[in-house]
């Protein structure tokens, strides 16, 4: 295709931008948009891998006493499923949106450190491939996504799986910290004139706070990983109780990282929702200041709740009470956020596009997941339900029904900006309903399984009704769920070929990314519009023509 800009036209697809042609352009890119796309594409790929693993688990659990796979294989599969979904799918998906959108939303040309940005992505991909290489190198890790000691010690996990697991997480962790630093510096130094911190789009706010969480939480994991590697490779005994080590120390260190990590996984989804809901309700977001500041509160509190993952470890009651209280406390700012979003929708003229439907489902399902979470903060309930399917249900309501649904809203909302084509709404709706029905069908019943005493991470279970029936229902709905997830890829391929041309601002959005063409040119903006409020594009559309032209001229440079 020829360069449309040469004839004064505007590129309407990525293939029309000469800078983006050819494999080398992608491998060597330091353009934040290409790197963002690479992140998102890799994340979707690993989503499919993780789903495939989930389907294997659900086949195994379909009937009591099933012999589809051996117990050892099952352990590897659930470990790889959890690790893949958290580190290879969710984190890079969030980073992909962050590095793609943040510079555009603040009117910058690129990230503060474009090369570091590329390094972050390639570290992630290298780490991810290393994790999967373990299958060929003698067996995948099989100690769960949080690899509790002393199971991970050399004397209990013989194969190289845990070593691959730890090394790959170290590599990816380094990349994540680099990218988070990059995002913070970008937000602090590259905002266009007029874009004060109080005018930042909420997605940028949430990413900003989230990056601090990454910067402070990932090193805790790295310290723990270094110690477990030393235990396995250098024969130290940090986590080996029989030699005076402490298995609990691993748990403490892991969850000092792990609980902030849970918020790392959900805050960007909050950001997406905060952009999508106002645009499709045609109303200003309700309580901007609260949404932004409560995010900071959540970030602080998230470092003070880790022990609630360890209520069953025999800690002193004083410690238990403190952490139970802090865990209930953190639900408060989160809960109020939910009301902010509902208040934004209230009385608005809502357009139920696919993106908005995902956002709405996020609200409902995330609330359900949050509520089952708060029940755990009550210690006796935790003692009863810990390590049961109730926890599996909770994880998925928060991470799948919450984060992933939120990110789907983001995918449908920004796909036209990223590629120049709209995703098919018809396929979108089909996908939405498959996912909602499949998701709730698969996981709602798991709450009951948990209460009935079905332990998690068990490769099979006795034939004692109604366990078999509940598992069968769950497995059947999981097929719909998996189909819904695969349908995303179908929709992307179909829409890239035949999707409607999006134009600059298909949804009537108000933030700066919609001011440039879709897809944006390599330099992002020809001119950044002036920023005088939180909704620069609304100002532009509603200003009298004279002011508008003056404003355009004034908003020239942005360095």
């Amino acid at each position: 295709m020829s360069d449309p800009r040469a004839t004064g036209g505007v590129a309407t697809s990525l293939a029309q931008i000469p800078e983006y042609r050819g494999l080398l352009s992608w491998l060597s890119s330091i353009d934040h948009k290409q790197i963002g796309i690479l992140y998102i594409a890799s994340a979707v790929l690993f989503l499919l891998v993780g789903v495939a693993e989930a389907v294997l688990m659900r086949i195994q659990l379909m009937w009591p006493g099933n012999h589809f796979m051996s117990p050892g294989t099952y352990n590897q599969i659930f470990t790889m499923h959890g690790t893949t979904m958290v580190f290879l799918m969710a984190m890079p998906l969030l980073f992909g949106f962050s590095v793609y959108l943040v510079p555009l939303m603040i009117g910058a040309r690129d990230m503060a450190f474009p090369r570091l940005n590329a390094a972050g992505y390639w570290l992630y991909l290298f780490g991810a491939l290393m994790l999967y290489f373990s299958f060929m190198a003698g067996g995948a890790p099989a100690a769960g996504w949080f690899s509790y000691a002393p199971l991970t010690e050399g004397g209990y996990s013989f194969g190289p799986g845990i070593d691959y697991w730890a090394l790959s997480l170290l590599v990816m962790g380094a990349g994540s910290v680099a990218t988070a630093i990059n995002l913070v510096v970008t937000v602090l130094t590259l905002r266009t004139p007029g874009m004060s911190l109080r005018r930042l789009p909420l997605f940028v706010w949430m990413t900003f706070v989230n990056s601090f969480l990454v910067i402070l939480a990932l090193p805790a994991l790295n310290a723990a990983l270094v110690m477990i590697l030393a235990d396995r490779q250098l024969n130290t005994h940090f986590f080996a109780p029989e030699h005076g080590g402490s298995a609990l120390l691993w748990q403490n260190y892991f969850w000092v990282f792990g609980h902030p990590e849970v918020y790392i996984l959900v805050l960007p989804a909050f950001g997406v929702i905060s952009e999508v809901i106002p645009v499709f309700s045609r109303k200003v977001i309700y309580g901007y200041g609260f949404l932004a500041s409560s995010t900071v509160a959540i970030a602080f509190l998230s470092f003070g709740v880790w022990v609630h993952h360890m209520f069953a470890t025999g800690l002193s009651f004083a410690a238990l009470y403190v952490f139970a209280a802090s865990s209930m406390l953190i639900a408060v700012p989160t809960g109020i956020k939910i009301f902010n979003w509902i208040a934004t929708m209230w009385g608005g003229s809502i357009r139920f596009t696919t993106a908005m439907m995902f956002a709405t489902a996020f609200l409902i399902q995330f609330t359900a997941g949050g509520l089952s979470g708060v029940t755990f903060a009550a210690i006796p309930i935790d003692w009863q339900l810990t390590d049961s399917y109730f926890v599996v249900a909770h994880i998925h309501y928060v991470l799948l029904g919450g984060t992933l649904f939120g990110m789907f809203a983001g995918i449908y909302y920004w796909f036209p900006k990223i590629t120049g084509r709209l995703l098919s709404e018809r396929l979108g709706r089909l996908q939405f309903w498959l996912l909602v029905i499949g998701f709730n069908g698969t996981f709602a019943g798991m709450h009951v399984l948990g209460v009935l005493g079905m332990p998690r991470r068990a490769y099979t279970y006795p034939d004692r009704p109604p366990l078999g029936l509940l598992h069968l229902i769950s497995s059947s709905f999981a097929i719909l769920l998996a189909l819904g997830l695969v349908l995303l890829v179908v929709n992307v391929i179909v829409s890239l070929r035949r999707g409607a041309v999006a134009g600059d601002d298909p949804w009537g959005g108000w933030t700066l990314e919609w001011a440039t063409t879709s897809p944006p040119p390599p330099d992002n903006f020809e001119r950044v519009p002036p920023v005088r409020s939180r909704r620069p594009l609304w100002d532009l559309a509603h200003a009298p023509p004279a002011v508008r032209d003056a404003g355009r001229a004034e908003g020239g440079g942005h360095d």
Partner: protein, 184 residues
Amino acid sequence: MTERNRLGMILFVLSESVFFTLLIVAYVFYHHPGAEGPSAAGVLDRGKAAGYSVALLCSSLTLWLAGLSLRRREQARAASWLLGTFVLGGVFLVGQALEYAHLLRAHVTVSRNLFGASFFTLTGFHGFHVFVGLVMLAILAGLTLARSRPERVEAATEAVAVYWHFVDGVWVVIFSIVYLWSMA
């Protein structure tokens, strides 16, 4: 540009401080009187460690002076301060290497007991950070000598200085805990 590099480095250092905090906590956690085998009080030589620690502390001063000279565009002087910093950092590493050699000869190894494990992990990672700092210092000194773009070298030096002072500060904490508190 200057601001951007420094800011990035400050955030990196923030991240590293969490990493070191947890390694230090592990050291403290495993330090108790009843522990079997060699312990800090039995095998470490406080005097020698204090000696090479002083070299590291001085290197913070020389790096600060290098920054001053760079700001005044006195390239030759800046280069010598940078080299001085490099040498002082090198003295620290050599001192640490000699200490390690001594410990290993006495069969105090990383796998001997939890003191060995936490001591070598903590000081080893710190030493690795010093080593990385030395590489950066060598590059800066080379760039200064080669008279490459002074404003960029200055910006880079400021960022490296953040890192170096941090590594220095971490050592002060490690020294206080490992050589003062746990040997008491």
